[in-house]
Each structure stands twice: as structure tokens, then as C-alpha cells.
């Protein structure tokens, strides 16, 4: 709230600065803009740049650093025995927080009350300090810019330079995001591997992450062998690809080779609807319609089908990724030079012979790239498997049994749990790191293959 007020104040300040700048530029130019290097408006904007940008940067820095610093101050003020990290401290801190905000906290002790007073005053002082510095930066910056308004001052170039710098900063957000993903995953996974060895994680065949509440309980440590998860992920993705690859490819052949332009322009968006349906809808459909149906058929044939079979999740996931396969394959097939087709047809080959013996081999690298992208989609898909696949680890290749996947485990490990130093929650980040790396490798290979393929025919 305070920050919003501060920003609003800075905006008012900069609109004043703009007007002052325009007026000043006009008076420097002797009442008209003709003698000036830049239009008066740019002199005004120049003043806005100097008045607004440093203060805004400061606010951003404050917002990203202050909460952590303030919390550290509060923790340091607590009695030593309460400073140890853990759920108890979290509870105390949230008590202090709600006391400081004015809500009535649960069983607030004297310690909490004192800390809340301190928190209030520290917050108050830091905000006042921020406001003061922002004021100085704003007014000072504008004043500095005001002095630089001259006849020959290249205000327009300066303003454009500032805007370009802002645009460049915006394009860095993508890099920062990647960095954030990598750092957070690696950092938490590193903490996890401090508790559980890498070898056990990658090669262990036992996955039961439930750590006991008390240390003396049986099986209190939990075991973190992720092989069953990898196997389950592979099984479900495999089923999905068995569905998506033939259907997607044949659809792509039809659209690229047989369909008239009109039919094609209708079919393509229809198929792409499949990719636009939210995954939670597929999950619902898989869990409540497809899984019971498969179970019913299985019973008719005398097969024992789990109610959360890998088959149901895999089938529905396969349908979801059909458009990924068909879209990319369609593009790739259309990029095969027309001459190849005409040569084949001219030799008397039928359409299907041309497709199978000429077009398909020529388009193969691109198609493989598209399939790889689809696989990476399938591996990273979360909601369908969370809703329709099982929760317990099960090392099997039988598609009628329940298996669990990497993404399902990430969700179950993290939903509802708020402590972040147990091996259980950290395991989710280790799994996330694996997921990220595997999908990244698939994507890089796929994109390179597809790009090389395009260059070949360009």
C-alpha cells in the first residue's frame, strides 16, 4: 500500500517535472522550439527519466531485499534458543507478523509482543528512509536534468538511449527466469543430495518418501530411489506416443498430401483444439470416464485392471499430444520440395507410394524432431497423471497396473506441506531438476534437428 502511494507520488512528481522541462526548454529557445536541437517534449521526458527511473530502481531493490533483511533483524533480536531454524521459528515469526499488522495472534507471548513492536518500528523506519531517499533522488534527478536543458542539448537521443536500455532490460527477464529456474532447482537439489546420495536417488528401486514424525519410528528415514518413477514416466509417455505418433503422423499426411486447401484449413484448427483444452479437463476425463471404461473392458476379458491404470493416463495424454505431432509433421512434410513428389508421381508411383517411399524418408529428420518435442511434452505433463495415475511407486511394465510418475510425485510431495528442510520436500526439487534437464535435452536436440532439416531444403 505504502509502495503504491510512493509510486503514485513519484508519478505526480514526474508529471510536474515534464511540464517544467517543456517550459524551460521553450524559454531557453526564446519562446519557440525552432532553435532547439530537440523538441520541448523531449526535454520534458528527459527530466522525467532522471526524476523517475533512479527512484523506481531503488524501490525495486528495496522490495527484493528489505523483507529478508527485516526478518533477519527480527530473528537476531529473539532470545538465542528461539533463533534456530525450523517450523517453530516459522510459527513464531508468523505470530509476530500478525501481531505487528494488528491481528490477534494465537497465544502470543511476551517475546512475540516485543518482537512485534520492533518489527513495526523497523518497518516504519525503513519505509520512511525509502520515502526520503526517493524524494531526494526524484527531485535531485529532475533538478540535474533541468540544468542540462540547453539549446544544443540532444535530449531526444538521451531519452531514446534510456528507452533502449529499458527494452534491453526487459529482454533480460527471459535470461533471469532461466537462471532462476536453474539456480533454485540446483540449490534445493544440492541440499537434498546432502541428505540422500546421488547414487541412491538415481539407482534405488524403492520410493517411499514418507518420513516419520518421530525419529524412533520404524522406517523413519524414507527411501528415495527414483527408478520406479522414471519407469512409470517412461511407461505412460510410451503409451502416449503409441497413440499420438501414428494418429498424428497419418493426420499430417492426410492434411499435407490429400486434403484440399479448404478441408485442410478446417481440419487443422479442429485438431489444434485438442492442444488448447486445459490439461485438468483431460485429467478429469481420464480419471472419471476413460479409466472406469478400461476397467470395465478388462473385466469382460477377465483381466485385472487397476482403477488408476497407466493405460488410461497414457491414452488420454496421447490424445492431448496428437496436435503437437501433427502440426510439426504437417509443416515439415509441406516443406519437402515439390520436385521430389512430382518426380515420383511422374514415374507412375501412386500417391501413397510417393508418401511412403519419397516424402516420408525426406521428411524423417523433421518428423523425428517433432516426435521428440512431443515426448518432452508428455514427460512434463502433470495434471493428467496427477488425476488419473497412481500415487504409490510401482516398478512394472504392465500398462494395466497403477504406476506413478516424476510429476505426480513433485505435486504430492509439495502440496500441503510447508516445511522446507525435510528430505521429503527437497526431493521434489531434485525430481524437478531431473525433469528440467531431460526435457531440456530433448528440446535442444529436437530444435537442432528441425532447424538443420529446414536449412537443408531452404
Amino acid at each position: 500500500m505504502f509502495i503504491i502511494l510512493l509510486i503514485a507520488f513519484l508519478l505526480v512528481l514526474s508529471s510536474v517535472a515534464y511540464r517544467v522541462g517543456v517550459k524551460r526548454a521553450l524559454s531557453v529557445g526564446g519562446g519557440s522550439a525552432r532553435a532547439l536541437h530537440s523538441l520541448p517534449a523531449y526535454h520534458g521526458l528527459y527530466m522525467v527519466c532522471w526524476g523517475l527511473l533512479p527512484a523506481l530502481a531503488l524501490i525495486v531493490v528495496y522490495l527484493s531485499v528489505a523483507p529478508t533483511l527485516i526478518e533477519r533483524t527480527i530473528v537476531a533480536s529473539l532470545p538465542l534458543e528461539l533463533q534456530a531454524e525450523g517450523p517453530q521459528r516459522e510459527l513464531l515469526l508468523s505470530d509476530i507478523e500478525s501481531l505487528a499488522v494488528g491481528d490477534v495472534a494465537s497465544q502470543a507471548g511476551e517475546v512475540a509482543r516485543q518482537a512485534a513492536e520492533l518489527l513495526k518500528s523497523v518497518r516504519h523506519r525503513s519505509m520512511m528512509g525509502l520515502a526520503a531517499i526517493c524524494l531526494v533522488l526524484g527531485v535531485g534527478g529532475a533538478a540535474f536534468a533541468h540544468r542540462r536543458i540547453e539549446l544544443q542539448a540532444p535530449a531526444i537521443h538521451r531519452v531514446e538511449g534510456a528507452v533502449k536500455a529499458l527494452l534491453f532490460l526487459a529482454s533480460l527477464v527471459a535470461v533471469v527466469t532461466t537462471l532462476g529456474i536453474v539456480l533454485s532447482l540446483v540449490f534445493e537439489a544440492f541440499r537434498f543430495f546432502g541428505k540422500v546420495s546421488v547414487v541412491e536417488f538415481l539407482c534405488g528401486r524403492e520410493w517411499s518418501p514418507q518420513t516419520a514424525l518421530r525419529a524412533d519410528q520404524v522406517g523413519s528415514s524414507g527411501t528415495f530411489g527414483a527408478v520406479p518413477l522414471f519407469a512409470g514416466t517412461l511407461l505412460i509417455s510410451g503409451i502416449a506416443m503409441l497413440v499420438a505418433a501414428p494418429i498424428g503422423l497419418l493426420s499430417a499426411f492426410y492434411m499435407a498430401e490429400y486434403a484440399k486447401p479448404r478441408t485442410r484449413s478446417m481440419l487443422k484448427p479442429l485438431l489444434e483444439i485438442l492442444a488448447g483444452i486445459p490439461t485438468v479437463v483431460y485429467g478429469f476425463f481420464a480419471a472419471l470416464t476413460v479409466a472406469p471404461a478400461i476397467r470395465g473392458w478388462g473385466e469382460q476379458w477377465g483381466l485385472d485392471v487397476a482403477s488408476e491404470s497407466a493405460m488410461a493416463a497414457g491414452l488420454v495424454m496421447g490424445v492431448m499430444i496428437i496436435p503437437f505431432v501433427s502440426s510439426i509433421s504437417d509443416d515439415v512434410i509441406s516443406a519437402v520440395p515439390q520436385g521430389l513428389r512430382q518426380a515420383s508421381l511422374g514415374l507412375g508411383a501412386t500417391r501413397s507410394e510417393t508418401i511412403r517411399r519419397v516424402v516420408f524418408p525426406a521428411a524423417l529428420p523433421g518428423i523425428v524432431g517433432g516426435l521428440l518435442l512431443a515426448v518432452s511434452r508428455a514427460i512434463g505433463e502433470t495434471m493428467i497423471v496427477t488425476m488419473a495415475a497412481g500415487l504409490t511407486a510401482n516398478l512394472t511394465a504392465n500398462p494395466l497396473e497403477a504406476v506413478t510418475t516424476v510429476t505426480v510425485q513433485i505435486v504430492t510431495l509439495l502440496v500441503g506441506d510447508q516445511e522446507f528442510d525435510s528430505a521429503k520436500t527437497l526431493a521434489a526439487f531434485a525430481l524437478g531438476l531431473m525433469l528440467f534437464l531431460v526435457t531440456l535435452i530433448f528440446n535442444v536436440i529436437a530444435l537442432t534437428v528441425v532447424r538443420r532439416y529446414r536449412e537443408q531444403y531452404d
Binding site: S64, P67, T68, V159, E160, L167, A170, S171, L172, A174, V175, T178, I181, S184, L185, P246, I247, L250, S251, Y254, M255, L267, P269, L270, L271, I273, L274, G276, I277, P278, T279, V280, V281, G283, F284, F285, L288, T350, R351, S352, R356, R357, R377, G380, T382, M383, T386, M387, T407, V411, L414, V415, Q418, F429, G432, L435, F436, T439, N443, L447
Partner: protein, 445 residues
């Protein structure tokens, strides 16, 4: 490709020996027939593939519509209710606190007993009350709180019936089931029939579903809280992702130095980010926004931030395509008249590229609206009754609500889940329709 076609093995030679077994008229005819059948089969496979995909789409939609359309309807019973001032407000001061704390249950229980007649004993009474939703008292309470002058008058009020009654009325549970497998006993069914015979029971449009928050009872649950949560998250996403995405696209297309290693790095980055699984963004949000920056759990603000990072690559990539499509002659003409690079972008490139950029933004937002997994990671998956008041209050989102309801054991939530999916799909259809419309307009220009 291993089957060896005799045509290819022995090409007809110039001498064309008549009598070669592969070249007799019948042999050629036979082969031609086989090849035509092969051709026909291949086309049939292709059509079957497309038919399967579209058939599945149809199956999915029809299944959800079939399950969900009745979620928009609710069984109600209409009673003539006397708002007894003695019961609600014995002091007669109309103090809101007294009105809020009063017991409203007798108001509807009285007429119910009167109509049913012979309800004796505690157990029977409780069974009779079970026909009506426990939310009936809140309706009555709200009526009085909104307008205290109705105290002392008799009003005709439609009250929601319980979820078991509702399922029975909609025919979702068969009457022929044995009593122990039914949620309603024979006695309750008889009462229900009695009420129906009086013409008091009817199925009406369920406004509560669209106007109220979540509830443990299916007949009282609504999606308004989830819709508002999604709305706040989308506003945050749009406000951040649109300017950032456009700025990045403009920078990369118009100002970035060519053949610069850093720029290549940024581009590769964006392409890879577009393919990162959404749950990884959730992990990022959890580790960075919640644990590092200490933002509140379950807040649409954090959801919006995470979804913003997720949509950003889509907006950037489509934005770049749109900017690239602006003819260079436009830029050159503007430069020739002495415009500066930024003026060219602001006055000529962006207005031309805007429809394309907006199309990409809408498509990105539509994907973000349907996204569930990252929101689970940042705690937007709790039982929240209140409709969120702002981007900082705890909330769920529409797809998360679908996930939560699909998990719940009550049968009544099945149709609510499907109905919520229908609402979600309606939003997506509107958004994608807008995108298609915009693309059409853009193309005709």
C-alpha cells in the same frame, strides 16, 4: 519398405520381351489392382486417424456436457415462510448482530412439518430435515439481513434441497436401487413425493453456482471465488507479461545488434523457456517468490507472476513474428523523413504489428488461464470459501477448482466439476475466438 515391389526389381527394358511373366497384361492388371487397393487402404488409414482424433474431441465434449449441464440447475422447494419476529429478534431492536446470530432453522422446519404431517420423533424429524440443504438457513438469514422489514410477514421462498434430493430429482440415482444403496430412505422418498404432489418442488437455474464461493456441500458450492482468483491472476499476468513481452520483442527485432553472442543466448533462452514443463515454473515460484521473497502463499499475485513468466515466451515469439511481418519499406520511408529509431517503432511498426501481438497475447493468456500445475505448487489449492477481495487474499483458480472438486468423494460434485469445466471452456472459447477474429482482420489488411 522391405517389401520388394517387382516393378522396381525388373524395370521394363527397351526390348520389352513379350511373354515375360511380370509383363503380361493380366500380371500388370493384377499389380495395378493391388496397388490401387493399397492406395485406397492408405487413404483410409489417414482418414481413420483424423476420425479418431476428432471423434475423441467430440466424445470429450459430449461427455462433459452430458455430465455437467445439470450442474447449472438446482432442485428447490418453495415454502410459505412466516418470518417470526419472536424467533429472530425478540428484542425488536433490529440489531444486525442479533439478526446474524439468530436461529433461522425453525422458520423452514415449521412449514415442512406442516406439509408432511405425520413426522414424529427425533430420528424421523432429522430424516425429514435432511431433504433440505443445510444452506437454507443462510438464505433466510441473508434475506433478513438485507431487509429487516420482512420480519413479521409471510414470504414465498425457494430454498435449495439437499444434494441427495437433488441427485434423486435429476434421475442421477435410480429409485429402483435397494434402500441401503440409496442416499434417501424409502420414508424420505415418500416425503419427497408428497412435496412434489403439492407442486412445491422444482428444478430451477442455479444462480448460486455462479455467485458463491466454494463449499463442502455440493448444492451450495459455487465458482465465483475461483473465477475471481483466476481473474486477479490474469490481470497480474497481463499487466506484466504484455509490456515485458512487447519490449523484448521490439528490442530483439529492431535494436539488438546482429550476430552478437549475448543476443543469441537470449534467443535460445526464450525458445527453450517455451518448452519447459509448466510444473517447473511452479517450482521456481515456490523457491523464489514464496521462499526467497516471502510473498504470501495462495495469493493470485504470485499465481499471476508465475503464469506471467510462463506466458512471456509465447508473447515474445508471436510478437517477433508480427514485428517481422511489418514491411521494411514502411521503416525506410519513416527514416527517410527523419524519424528517430524509437519514433519509427512507436508510430509505424507497433501500430502495424499490434493486432498480431494482441493475438499472441490472448492465446498466451488463454493457455495461462487453463494452467493448473504451477498453481498447485504455490499453494493456490486450498479450501477457500470467501470470494477473494484482491490479488493478495488467498484464492484458488478455476482450473484448480476443477481439480479440487474432481477429487472430492461426494457424488454431487461430479456435475459441479463438469459444469465448472464448461465455464472454463466457455472462457477459453471466447478468448480464442477473439484471437481468431483478430488474426482474420489482420490478414485482410
Amino acid at each position: 519398405m522391405t517389401d520388394r515391389n517387382p516393378d522396381h526389381e525388373t524395370p521394363p527394358t527397351a526390348t520389352g520381351r513379350v511373354g515375360h511373366p511380370l509383363l503380361t497384361t493380366e500380371a500388370v492388371q493384377r499389380r495395378l489392382g493391388r496397388r490401387r487397393r493399397q492406395e485406397w487402404r492408405f487413404q483410409a488409414y489417414c482418414l481413420v486417424a483424423i476420425g479418431l482424433a476428432l471423434g475423441f474431441l467430440l466424445l470429450l465434449f459430449s461427455d462433459i456436457v452430458r455430465k455437467g449441464w445439470q450442474g447449472f440447475r438446482q432442485t428447490e422447494v418453495t415454502f410459505e415462510i412466516f418470518f417470526d419476529p419472536e424467533q429472530i429478534d425478540p428484542t425488536g431492536e433490529r440489531d444486525p448482530e442479533v439478526l446474524a446470530a439468530a436461529d433461522y432453522a425453525p422458520l423452514w422446519r415449521e412449514p415442512l412439518r406442516e406439509i408432511l404431517g405425520d413426522v414424529e420423533g427425533r430420528r424421523e424429524r432429522r430424516a425429514a430435515y435432511g431433504l433440505i440443504s443445510s444452506g437454507a438457513v443462510f438464505d433466510l438469514q441473508q434475506m433478513v439481513m438485507a431487509d429487516a422489514s420482512i420480519l413479521g410477514s409471510t414470504q414465498s421462498v425457494a430454498l435449495p434441497m439437499s444434494d441427495a434430493t437433488d441427485l434423486m430429482m435429476k434421475g442421477k440415482i435410480s429409485r429402483d436401487l435397494p434402500e441401503e444403496e440409496r442416499p434417501l430412505t424409502d420414508q424420505q422418498l415418500a416425503w419427497l413425493d408428497q412435496l412434489r404432489a403439492e407442486g412445491l418442488v422444482h428444478i430451477a437455474f442455479n444462480t448460486r453456482f455462479l455467485s458463491s464461493g466454494d463449499s463442502r456441500s455440493p448444492e451450495l458450492a459455487g465458482i465465483a471465488g475461483a473465477v475471481m482468483g483466476s481473474f486477479y491472476a490474469m490481470v497480474v499476468t497481463l499487466l506484466l507479461a504484455f509490456p515485458l513481452g512487447v519490449a523484448t520483442a521490439v528490442y530483439l527485432e529492431e535494436f539488438a545488434p546482429q550476430n552478437n553472442r549475448w543476443i543469441d543466448l537470449i534467443e535460445v533462452n526464450i525458445n527453450n523457456l517455451a518448452a519447459v514443463p509448466s510444473i517447473v515454473y511452479g517450482l521456481l515460484g515456490l523457491a523464489v517468490f514464496l521462499n526467497f521473497f516471502g510473498l504470501p502463499r495462495s495469493a493470485p499475485l504470485v499465481g499471476g507472476l508465475v503464469l506471467c513468466l510462463m506466458t512471456l515466451p509465447t508473447i515474445i515469439i508471436t510478437g517477433r513474428v508480427a514485428i517481422k511481418a511489418v514491411p521494411p519499406s514502411l521503416r525506410q520511408a519513416a527514416y527517410g523523413l527523419g524519424a528517430t529509431p524509437l519514433q519509427v517503432v512507436r508510430d509505424h511498426v507497433l501500430p502495424q504489428a499490434l493486432p498480431g501481438i494482441l493475438t499472441g497475447t490472448i492465446i498466451g493468456l488463454a493457455r495461462a488461464l487453463g494452467e493448473t500445475a504451477p498453481l498447485l505448487m504455490i499453494g493456490m489449492v486450498a479450501f477457500i470459501v470467501d470470494i477473494p477481495e484482491g490479488p493478495l487474499s488467498p484464492a484458488t483458480a478455476l482450473p484448480v477448482q476443477v481439480y479440487l472438486w474432481s477429487d472430492s468423494p461426494e457424488r454431487g460434485f461430479l456435475e459441479k466439476t463438469s459444469a465448472a469445466i464448461l465455464v472454463l471452456l466457455a472462457f477459453l472459447i471466447v478468448m480464442n475466438g477473439a484471437a481468431v477474429w483478430m488474426r482474420r482482420r489482420f490478414q485482410t489488411r
